[in-house]
C-alpha cells in the first residue's frame, strides 16, 4: 500500500511540531524517518496513527484521502504501529494480547482463543518468528515481545507498519534480527516507516531516508550516504562523531566494589555478586541492555538502594550503608539516568537546580539563609562554562531542552571536589551537539585523574568513551574487557555469553 502525507502541519499552541511535512512511502519500501529527539518524528507518526489531528494537510492511502478519528480508524485502514514502549499486557498470553481490542467471540460471548492461537501460529510460521501463543508476555525476552507487537499489527492486516524507535531496547543481536524481519516484511509487500536516530541502522536497512529537523523535512538521503553526511543533515551543521581522547593514565584503584548484591522491593536479586574496581584517571563503561542491573548498581553506590550486601569502598573508605548525603560529601558526582525524575526539579530555576545538592552550609547557605548573590554568581558562571542555553539563570529547567538540562546536571555534579564520577546514560535523549559536549566533559574529568563510571546501553557510546568495559547481564557481570574489544564480542556479552579467554586476559592485563 502506498502511503502519502501531504503538507501535514501540527501545532501545539505557539509551537509548530510539524511544519508542512510531505512524505511518500511506496509499497514494499523501508522508509527511514531520521531526526533528533524532538524533531517532530513521533508527532508526525501520531498524526498518522490518528492520535493527533493535524491542523493542515491530508493523509492518503493508495491515493485515497483518509480521515482518522482515532487509532481504530487507522488500524482499520491498514496502518500498524510498533511502539517503542510495548503496548502489551504482561499478565496476558501472546494470543490474548494479539486479540486484545479485536476480540472474536463464539456463541455465548466466549472468546475465540483457539482462533487467536491459530493466527499467531500462522503469522509466526510465515516469518519464522518462533513465538508460543500460550506464553505469558511477561516471561518473554524484550526482543520476542517486540515480535508479539509485530504479530499484533500483522494480525489486523497492516499494510503499512510504523516502527517507532524499535531498537532502543534491543541487544545488537536482536537488532540484527529485527532488521532481517523488516526485510522479510518488505519482501512480502508491506510498507515500513522506520523512525530512528541511529545512523548505522538507517544505512543498513533503509531504501530511502527522509531527514526531519525542527518539524520540517530538511532533505532526503540515500542509504549510501556516510554517517557524517546524515549527522550533519540531522543537526544542521557538521558534527564530530568520534570522541577525541588520549590513552588513559590509570592511577591507583579508587573505587573497589566486591561481591555487591542488591535486592529490590520484591526481594529479587537485581544485582548479583558484582565485583569491579575503577582506577583514578580511567573510564570504566558499564554496558548492557536496559534493565540488567546497571541502574541498581549505580544507585547502590550512591546509597539509594536499601538492601545492599557486599562492600563498596572509595579511596579506602566504605560507602555501603552511608546516606546519600554522606556519599555525596565523600566526593561522588552522580548523573542519574532519568534526569527529569532524579536529576532535576523541573519547576526550579537553573540557579536553584545548580545548588540542589548543596543546600547545607557554604557557599550557598549561611546561618540557615540562602545566599542568593552567591547562588546567582555561581549559576551565571557555570551556565557560561557549560554552555547552558537559556533566557537567564532564572529560567525553570523544565523549559530547557534535554541537552541543556543535562548540561545543568553535569555543571552541578562536576563543580564539586570529586573523587568519583558516575554518569548513568549521560546522553540519553539529548541532541547530537550536546552529546559532543557531554562526552568531552566526561573525558576531561577522566584526564583530571578522577575515576569515572559511565553506564550506557548504547554500544557506540561505550566504545567511544571506555578505557575498560564491564558488561552486565541479569544482574551479574559477564566480563570486564578492554575498551578496544570489538562490537561483536560486546554484543554477545550483552546477550550473556562469557567473553573468550583471550579477551578476558587482555582485560586483566589492563586492570593490573
Amino acid at each position: 500500500m502506498k502511503l502519502e502525507l501531504r503538507g501535514i502541519t501540527k501545532r501545539f499552541g505557539a509551537l509548530v511540531a510539524n511544519d508542512h511535512i510531505d512524505l511518500v512511502v511506496e509499497p514494499g519500501e523501508i522508509h527511514c524517518l531520521l531526526g533528533e529527539n524532538g524533531a517532530g518524528k513521533s508527532t508526525l507518526m501520531n498524526v498518522l496513527y490518528g492520535l493527533y489531528h493535524a491542523e493542515e494537510g491530508e493523509i492518503l492511502l493508495d491515493d485515497v484521502v483518509q480521515h482518522f478519528a482515532g487509532p481504530g480508524d487507522a488500524m482499520a485502514a491498514g496502518i500498524g504501529m510498533v511502539h517503542q514502549h510495548f503496548m502489551l499486557i504482561p499478565v496476558f498470553t501472546v494470543a490474548e494480547n494479539v486479540m486484545l481490542g479485536h476480540e472474536e467471540t463464539r456463541f455465548g460471548g466466549r472468546l475465540d482463543l483457539a482462533g487467536a492461537r491459530a493466527k499467531v501460529r500462522e503469522i509466526s510460521a510465515r516469518f519464522g518468528f518462533d513465538v508460543d501463543p500460550d506464553a505469558l508476555v511477561d516471561d518473554l525476552p524484550v526482543g520476542v515481545q517486540q515480535r508479539v507487537e509485530i504479530i499484533k499489527a500483522l494480525s489486523r492486516d497492516a499494510k503499512v507498519l510504523v516502527f517507532d524507535e524499535p531498537t532502543a531496547v534491543l541487544t545488537p543481536q536482536e537488532t540484527d534480527e529485527l532488521m532481517a524481519i523488516m526485510r522479510q516484511l518488505k519482501a512480502g509487500g508491506t510498507s515500513i516507516v522506520f523512525i530512528t536516530h541511529k545512523l548505522r541502522e538507517v544505512r543498513e536497512v533503509a531504501d530511502r531516508i527522509t531527514v526531519i529537523r525542527h518539524g520540517k523535512v530538511v532533505g532526503e538521503a540515500q542509504p549510501t550516504a556516510t554517517n557524517a553526511e546524515l549527522a550533519s543533515l540531522m543537526v544542521g551543521r557538521a558534527v564530530e562523531l568520534t570522541v577525541q581522547k588520549s590513552p588513559a593514565q590509570p592511577g591507583d584503584r579508587a573505587l573497589v566494589v566486591e561481591n555487591l548484591s542488591v535486592l529490590d522491593a520484591n526481594g529479587h536479586r537485581v544485582v548479583d555478586s558484582v565485583s569491579l574496581d575503577v582506577r583514578a584517571g580511567e573510564i570504566l563503561a558499564i554496558a548492557g541492555v536496559q534493565g540488567n542491573g546497571q541502574t541498581e548498581l549505580t544507585e547502590a553506590i550512591l546509597g539509594l538502594q536499601p538492601h545492599v550486601t557486599g562492600t563498596i569502598t572509595l579511596d579506602g573508605r566504605s560507602l555501603r550503608g552511608a546516606s546519600v548525603r554522606d556519599v555525596l560529601d565523600s566526593g561522588v558526582g552522580f548523573v542519574p539516568e532519568d534526569r527529569n525524575e532524579d536529576g532535576l526539579v523541573g519547576a526550579f530555576t537553573i540557579a536553584e537546580n545548580l545548588m540542589l545538592d548543596r543546600s547545607e552550609g557554604a557557599p550557598f547557605v549561611r546561618g540557615g539563609t540562602l545566599q542568593l548573590g552567591a547562588v546567582q554568581r555561581f549559576a551565571e558562571e557555570k551556565s557560561a562554562e557549560f554552555d547552558v542555553r537559556s533566557q537567564g539563570v532564572g529560567t525553570p529547567v523544565g523549559r530547557l531542552s534535554g541537552g541543556n538540562q543535562q548540561k545543568v546536571v553535569l555543571a552541578r555534579e562536576l563543580s564539586r571536589e570529586l573523587r568519583l564520577f558516575v554518569a548513568a546514560q549521560p546522553t540519553r535523549g539529548i541532541d547530537v551537539g550536546s552529546i559532543e559536549f557531554v562526552h568531552k566533559r566526561i573525558v576531561a574529568t577522566r584526564d583530571e585523574g578522577i575515576p569515572v563510571i559511565v553506564v550506557s546501553t548504547e554500544l557506540d557510546e561505550v566504545v567511544a568513551l571506555a578505557d575498560r568495559i564491564a558488561v552486565m547481564y541479569r544482574g551479574g557481570i559477564v566480563g570486564i574487557v578492554p575498551g578496544s574489544t570489538s562490537r561483536d564480542v560486546l554484543g554477545l556479552m550483552m546477550a550473556g555469553e562469557a567473553p573468550t579467554d583471550h579477551a578476558a586476559t587482555a582485560a586483566e592485563g589492563v586492570a593490573r
Binding site: 547545607e360 542568593l372 525553570p396 534535554g402
Partner: protein, 435 residues
C-alpha cells in the same frame, strides 16, 4: 494532557519556545510514578494569580445569580416578566446590589455609621475573622509546598485550643508571660498533632490525607471527652461541655481599643506570614522543602532527607494551625470554648491556601478575603435577608474554579500555560539514547 499543566508554584508556566516537541499523550505518563493526589495538587497550584482573581470574580457573579433567584421580589416580578420586564430587572438589580453592598458594608466600611472610627469597624471585624484563617491557611499552604495534603488543620486546631485554653484558664502567671506561654502551648499542641502525621508518613509511608482525616475525628472526640470530664477541661460546677473563661492575663489584648474586636493575635499572624515567607523563599530548610514538594526523587538523589522534610513540614504546619486554635480561644472566644471552637476554620484553611496559591502573602490576602466573607455574610443576612449560605456557596465556587483552571481560562480566553513544560516529560517517557 495533564502534564502540560504541571508547573509548580514557583513558576507559573507560560508558553515558551525553547522547546521542540510536546510529548505525545499518554507517553510521558508511562514512566511517571506520581500519584493522582500529586497531579491534582500540582494542577491546583500551577495556575497563576490571575486565575485566583478571576475565580473570585466568576464565583461572585454566580453568587449574584443565586441571590436574584432566591429573592422573593424577583420571583414575584418574574411572573409578569413579559408585560413589564423592567420590574424584574430592577428587582434583580435591587437584590444583588443590595446584598453585595451589605456584604461590603459589613466587611470593609459602613457608610451608614457616623464618623470614620465607627465606619471602619467592619474592616476590623474582618481582620478578626481573618486571623485564624490566615494562620491555619499558612499551615496548609506550607504542607502543600512540601507536597503534603494537610486536611487535619481542624484536629490540630482543636488540640491547640485545648492546650492553649488549659494554660489560659488553668495556670496563674504574670500578664505577658501567661499569654506567651498559652500561645506557645497552643502552637506546640498543634505541632505535635501534625507531627504524628509527619512521623507516620516518614517512617511507615502512611498517606497523610487518610491520617489527617482520621486524626480530626480523634481530636474532636478527645476534646469532647475532656470537655465532659470534670477536672480536665470542663468548667467546675457546670454540666455543659464547656471550659471556664480564660484568665485576663492570658487573653490577647485588643489592638485598637475596646470598640474594635481585632486583637493581638493578628500581629502574631503577620509575624507568622513574614516568617513563612522567609522560610520558603530565603532559608535552606525552605529550599529543601520546595525541592521535596516539587520532585521528591530528585531531592533524594541530591542528598536531601525527604523523610525528615515531611516530618519538619508537618510539625510546622501543625504549629501554624495551632496558632489559629490559640487565637480562637485566647482572642475571639475568651469566655470558654466547646468542641465547636474550630468553627470550620480548619477546612476553610484549605480553601484559603488554595486561593492564595500556597504563597505566604497570597494566603494572607486570601485569608482577609474569607474573613470579609464571614464578617459581611452576617450583615448581608441581617440587612437584606439573603441567606448566609450564599457566602458558603460563593466560597465553594471559588475553590471549584481554582481547581479547574482550564474552565476559567476558557471563560476568559486566556492562553494555556505550560505548553513549554512538556519537554521535561518527554525524556521520562522516551527511553532512548541519541547516537
Amino acid at each position: 494532557m495533564t502534564d502540560s499543566q504541571l508547573p509548580g508554584p514557583l513558576a507559573p508556566g507560560r508558553p515558551e519556545t525553547l522547546v521542540a516537541e510536546p510529548a505525545p499523550p499518554g507517553r510521558g505518563d508511562d514512566g511517571q510514578q506520581r500519584s493522582r493526589w500529586d497531579t491534582a495538587l500540582r494542577d491546583i497550584l500551577g495556575g497563576s494569580a490571575m486565575i485566583s482573581v478571576l475565580a473570585v470574580l466568576v464565583a461572585l457573579v454566580v453568587g449574584a445569580v443565586l441571590i436574584a433567584f432566591t429573592d422573593e421580589r424577583v420571583q414575584e416580578t418574574a411572573g409578569y416578566f413579559f408585560s413589564r420586564p423592567s420590574d424584574m430587572l430592577s428587582a434583580v438589580w435591587d437584590s444583588v446590589s443590595g446584598a453585595y453592598s451589605a456584604l461590603f458594608q459589613g466587611s470593609v466600611y459602613n457608610f451608614r455609621r457616623p464618623g470614620f472610627a465607627n465606619g471602619i469597624r467592619p474592616l476590623m471585624e474582618t481582620l478578626t475573622f481573618a486571623t485564624p484563617l490566615i494562620a491555619a491557611g499558612l499551615g496548609v499552604a506550607l504542607a502543600f509546598r512540601v507536597g503534603l495534603f494537610n486536611i487535619g488543620a481542624r484536629g490540630q486546631m482543636l488540640i491547640a485550643a485545648a492546650c492553649a485554653g488549659w494554660v489560659g484558664f488553668g495556670l496563674q502567671l504574670p500578664p505577658v508571660i501567661h499569654l506567651l506561654v498559652a500561645v506557645g502551648a497552643g502552637i506546640l499542641g498543634g505541632a505535635l498533632w501534625g507531627g504524628i502525621v509527619g512521623l507516620l508518613k516518614a517512617r511507615t509511608g502512611a498517606h497523610e490525607v487518610i491520617v489527617t482525616i482520621m486524626l480530626n475525628y480523634v481530636a474532636f472526640y478527645l476534646i469532647s471527652y475532656l470537655l465532659r470530664t470534670p477536672g480536665a477541661l470542663q468548667a467546675p460546677g457546670s454540666n455543659n461541655p464547656k471550659t471556664p473563661a480564660m484568665a485576663d492575663t492570658a487573653v490577647f489584648p485588643l489592638l485598637f481599643g475596646p470598640q474594635y474586636s481585632v486583637h493581638a493575635g493578628f500581629l502574631f499572624v503577620v509575624v507568622a506570614t513574614v516568617f513563612i515567607w522567609y522560610l520558603l523563599n530565603r532559608s535552606s530548610l525552605g529550599f529543601r522543602f520546595r525541592a521535596v514538594g516539587e520532585n521528591p526523587s530528585a531531592a533524594r538523589v541530591a542528598g536531601i532527607d525527604v523523610k525528615n522534610s515531611y516530618l519538619y513540614a508537618m510539625l510546622l504546619s501543625g504549629g501554624l494551625a495551632g496558632l489559629a486554635g490559640a487565637s480562637q480561644v485566647l482572642g475571639t472566644v475568651t469566655t470558654g470554648f466547646s468542641a465547636g471552637i474550630d468553627a470550620g476554620i480548619g477546612f476553610d484553611a484549605i480553601t484559603v491556601a488554595l486561593l492564595g496559591r500556597s504563597k505566604p502573602w497570597g494566603v494572607f490576602a486570601a485569608g482577609i478575603l474569607f474573613g470579609a466573607f464571614k464578617a459581611g455574610g452576617f450583615s448581608m443576612q441581617a440587612a437584606e435577608g439573603v441567606p448566609i449560605d450564599i457566602v458558603v456557596v460563593v466560597q465553594s465556587l471559588i475553590v471549584l474554579f481554582i481547581a479547574a483552571p482550564p474552565l476559567v481560562r476558557a471563560m476568559f480566553r486566556l492562553p494555556t500555560p505550560g505548553t513549554g513544560r512538556t519537554r521535561a516529560r518527554i525524556g521520562a517517557g522516551k527511553a532512548e539514547v541519541a547516537k
